[in-house]
Point group: C2
Chain length 114, copies 2
Amino acid sequence: MRPLFHPAVEDLKPEAILYALSDPERVAIFAQIAGLGSSGTCTALSNLGDRVIPKSSLSQHMKVLREAGLIRGERQGVEMRNHSRCQEVDSRFPGLIGAILSAYGRPPAATNAG
Amino acid sequence: MRPLFHPAVEDLKPEAILYALSDPERVAIFAQIAGLGSSGTCTALSNLGDRVIPKSSLSQHMKVLREAGLIRGERQGVEMRNHSRCQEVDSRFPGLIGAILSAYGRPPAATNAG
DNA sequence: TTCCATAGTTCAGAAATTCGGAACTGTTGA
DNA sequence: TCAACAGTTCCGAATTTCTGAACTATGGAA
């Protein structure tokens, strides 16, 4: 398995972020991770909505979020701890994540994306 | 040719807006329309970037922007006048368009999206 | 060490989407 | 009636997405 790729803050691309968050399922995942403040495992994120996301699909979703720079994933034992990169993204694109989450009716926690 | 579809403000979907603006070519088109303040024809929008967009592709792009509720197109004689729906979108999702255009390095005019 | 369970990734084929040239529609003007 | 023009629709090729199955990696038990 190849190591996970995480873009540097200066390499963040708005199109990747918008694309990643143009899928409600990914938004639910991201909002959960960002809302927790802490990390979350993939498995814990697989049944947020009205269906159970197949794990191969979930893995793809996580990859899209990761490569857009929205989350950081690091292996911890058997599982993967995912946490949001809201502050980094916000430093690069101020207000973007907040506006997006608000539009989805998922008001961001001030400490995470404000 | 079927009549153009434009969603009502209350039917705007964040996912459609983010998807539409996850393509830099569409962002360029939208920014041009929004920035003009006035309307623009499709043809005038076809060579904004570093390539000429084929007109069938351009037509698709316009459709995506239109159906996301970002622009309104109305036939005027032979051509189509397109104008932005920034204010309507902004009334529904405050700050969203501004944050997105800013992230793309296309600061929105205050009168159009603020 | 070997085996098993768990967490997540990668593979691969089917389904869906996107791209763009060619054909078409609708409007204007000669 | 015809030609020119603006934009849409069609349709086949290329790309992307989806997801079950196979695989990798880690940890714990025997």
